[in-house]
């Protein structure tokens, strides 16, 4: 770096927002003196920050009105909790409102985040699904621009958010991936990924690699002027961009050329990407292992899709993502379920995880519904959820599992925004990035009240490692903060469920159980159509959410709207 350069990375979150905006135009909304901090951290003996680690700034970018959302990576690793998440989602929702009213505003997001704040867990995931929904809607009106500069980089659920963006600018110092190196090592072993091998980390998920393989659109120097210029340039482009998560056919084609039985080096992937980028995309993608080689294990996801389609044969292109159009009441609906495939070509996605192929396959099966129904009544889509996690592995990070998960989330959000009632039925586990991809973008969430039904952000082992607490301490904390708990009743207390259904045999439903669930799903579809609202607000305004579960989320949104003057 030359003597005249000023490092962007060394600035704190607020200074970064100031640096992006035209000089002297910065003003802050819901700033530190408004005193809206996390209500959940002090209960766990953790000192909160007066802005909860997120800066919402208004001002001008190249003379045009803009909103800059900047995450302070120095506070709790830039983790997203209820207040910080609501500030981000609220700002994007207000920016969307602006555009709907014909008042343009340029949205810029300065990422520096490890993802969900594990001390608030499910609040982080809920917020991230709402942020993603707002990005997908906003992208129709304006480029949504992100900067990933480091030090922290962009990880976890927020990497799925970033994958949805129109443009991403990275520095070579930044890292961008779904699962942090420590978490992969914890979940999959040191042979899969050595979290101490810094060279391996940057070669796999660093800015240069991401740029060379198209997962970032621009590479900027760690310099205030360079980053400011890169942001301004993205808004000068005239043609509307197609986000990478919308390019389902291309990425399925690209992935079909990978043989995961051999370790793909980062430079080999660069070559593969560049060779594939300008090729015509074949209309069908064939995988080497897309036939079912043996008996498939039973799982809740498989049992429930079979039951709901009246024991017909489910369709699939890859054996781990089942789908079928079937009657629900008198109406044809599409069911989608992710199931274990012990022969999966990706080793780390053999137990029902949402992996690379799974994310893109879900996206395909959702998007074909949108396309087919373009000139007719939008078909309801039912996501049957029993997903133990996203896949943790080296290939997953290298090949962009955050984009695969983002593609699925994007497709569900796009379907919902196009008027398809999207209903989630949680029959088993609904964990973290897997749930963000498959299920969290729905209009209504129905869950079975059963011990095997869990919603949370990370396994206890990994969460303990990352937050430097013992599992016992985590369990103690979750008694005070229900969003940290793993059981479905705690999740229900947040107000995001349309219905929590008791008395169902989740492992082996009876005919009567299936009928009960079908009736509830029919009711949920009717409820969506009656309300006629296709964003995620029903979760925020449910009685339980208003009374207790999302109180802070609502206060933040209300106050932000009151202060909004962009």
């Amino acid at each position: 770096m030359g003597v005249n350069n000023q490092s962007f990375i060394e600035l704190n979150g607020r200074e970064r927002a100031q640096a992006i905006l035209d000089q002297g135009t910065f003003f802050e909304l819901l700033g530190p003196f408004d005193g809206i901090e996390s209500p959940h951290l002090p209960k766990q003996n953790i000192v909160p920050q007066s802005d909860d680690g997120v800066i919402i700034a208004g001002g001008l970018i190249a003379g045009e009105p803009a909103v800059v959302i900047s995450i302070e990576g120095g506070f709790q690793g830039g983790g997203i909790g209820e207040v910080s998440g609501a500030k981000i989602a609220g700002a994007l929702e207000l920016a969307l409102n602006n555009h709907k009213k014909g008042i343009p505003v340029r949205p810029v997001f300065l990422f520096d985040t490890g993802g969900v704040r594990l001390q608030e867990a499910n609040y982080g995931l809920l917020s991230i699904s709402e942020i993603g929904s707002a990005v997908v809607a906003l992208r129709e009106h304006t480029p949504v621009v992100g900067v990933i500069s480091g030090n922290v980089g962009c990880f976890g659920g927020m990497s799925i958010t970033a994958s949805l963006f129109s443009y991403l600018i990275m520095t070579k110092e930044a890292r961008f991936g779904l699962n942090g190196p420590e978490v992969i090592e914890q979940e999959a072993g040191v042979e899969e990924f050595d979290a101490r091998d810094r060279s391996l980390i940057w070669k796999t998920i660093g800015g240069i690699q991401r740029y060379e393989t198209g997962f970032a659109d621009a590479l900027a120097q760690d310099d205030v002027t360079a980053i400011q210029r890169a942001v301004q340039e993205t808004f000068q482009k005239k043609e509307k961009v197609t986000s990478k998560t919308e390019q389902v056919d291309f990425y399925r084609h690209l992935l079909s050329k990978v043989d995961p039985s051999e370790k793909l080096a980062s430079d080999q992937f660069q070559e593969l990407y560049k060779a594939t980028k300008n090729e015509p995309i074949p209309s069908t993608v064939s995988y080497s292992l897309n036939e079912v080689p043996g008996n498939m294990p039973n799982s809740r996801g498989r049992v429930w899709i079979n039951a709901l389609i009246n024991d017909e044969e489910a369709d699939f292109e890859i054996p781990s993502v089942l789908y079928k159009d079937a009657l629900l009441g008198r109406e044809k609906v599409r069911y989608i379920s992710v199931v274990p495939n012990p022969y999966n070509r990706f080793l780390r996605a053999r137990k029902g995880e949402v992996g690379l192929d799974e994310g893109w396959a879900i996206a395909k099966h959702v998007r074909e519904v949108i396309k087919e129904d373009r000139n007719q009544s939008p078909r309801p889509i039912i996501a049957i959820v029993d997903v133990p996690s996203q896949a943790y592995g080296y290939h997953e990070e290298l090949l962009g599992i955050h984009y695969a998960c983002g593609a699925a989330a994007d497709a569900y959000a796009a379907a919902r925004l196009a008027g398809h009632p999207v209903i989630t039925l949680i029959v088993g586990k609904a964990i973290s990035g897997a749930f963000l991809a498959h299920g969290y973008q729905s209009n209504r969430i129905v869950a079975l009240k059963d011990e095997g039904v869990n919603v949370h952000a990370m396994s206890k082992q990994s969460a303990a490692r990352i937050t430097k607490r013992s599992i016992k301490e985590l369990e103690e904390a979750s008694k005070k903060v229900p969003s940290m708990a793993y059981d479905i009743e705690s999740f229900a207390s947040l107000g995001a469920l349309y219905e929590l259904v008791s008395g169902i045999q989740a492992e082996q439903p009876t005919d009567r159980d299936v009928q009960t669930i079908q009736d509830i799903l029919t009711g949920a579809v009717e409820d969506v159509r009656r309300e006629g609202v296709y964003d995620l607000s029903s979760r925020l305004y449910s009685e339980q959410a208003r009374k207790e579960g999302r109180k802070a989320s609502l206060v933040v949104r209300g106050e932000l709207e009151r202060q909004w003057n962009i």
């Binding site: 000192v47 909160p48 007066s50 120095g74």
Partner: protein, 100 residues
């Protein structure tokens, strides 16, 4: 987490509020708001328990020199006494001179 409260006599008005620092490793956040009352009111939340004497010493020293009328909120994440003193001086500078 521990909350400590301190109060000092004061006779000097501040021109504007100030916010400095981050609640991050080895650092702290200070909010300084001008007040009409004739004392400085300091409230400290710190993740490192058992350092109330050290806090008292650092704050006594600062407020014996700077008798400012202000409400001060400190959110601490393990800052050393040296960092605390620097951040207080920085907050005061912003409060008196205006540029954040």
């Amino acid at each position: 987490m521990e909350t400590l409260v301190f109060k000092y006599k004061a006779d000097r008005k501040l021109t504007q509020r100030a916010h400095v620092g981050v609640v991050g490793s080895g650092d702290l956040e200070i909010l300084m708001v001008p007040s009409d009352e004739e004392h400085a009111h300091v409230s400290v939340r710190t993740g490192s328990e058992g350092f109330s004497e050290t806090w008292k010493a650092v704050l006594d020293r600062f407020f014996s020199v700077h008798t400012i009328q202000a409400k001060i909120v400190i959110n601490d994440f393990g800052a050393t006494p040296g960092v605390v003193a620097l951040r207080l001086a920085q907050a005061l500078e912003v409060s008196e001179n205006g540029s954040e």
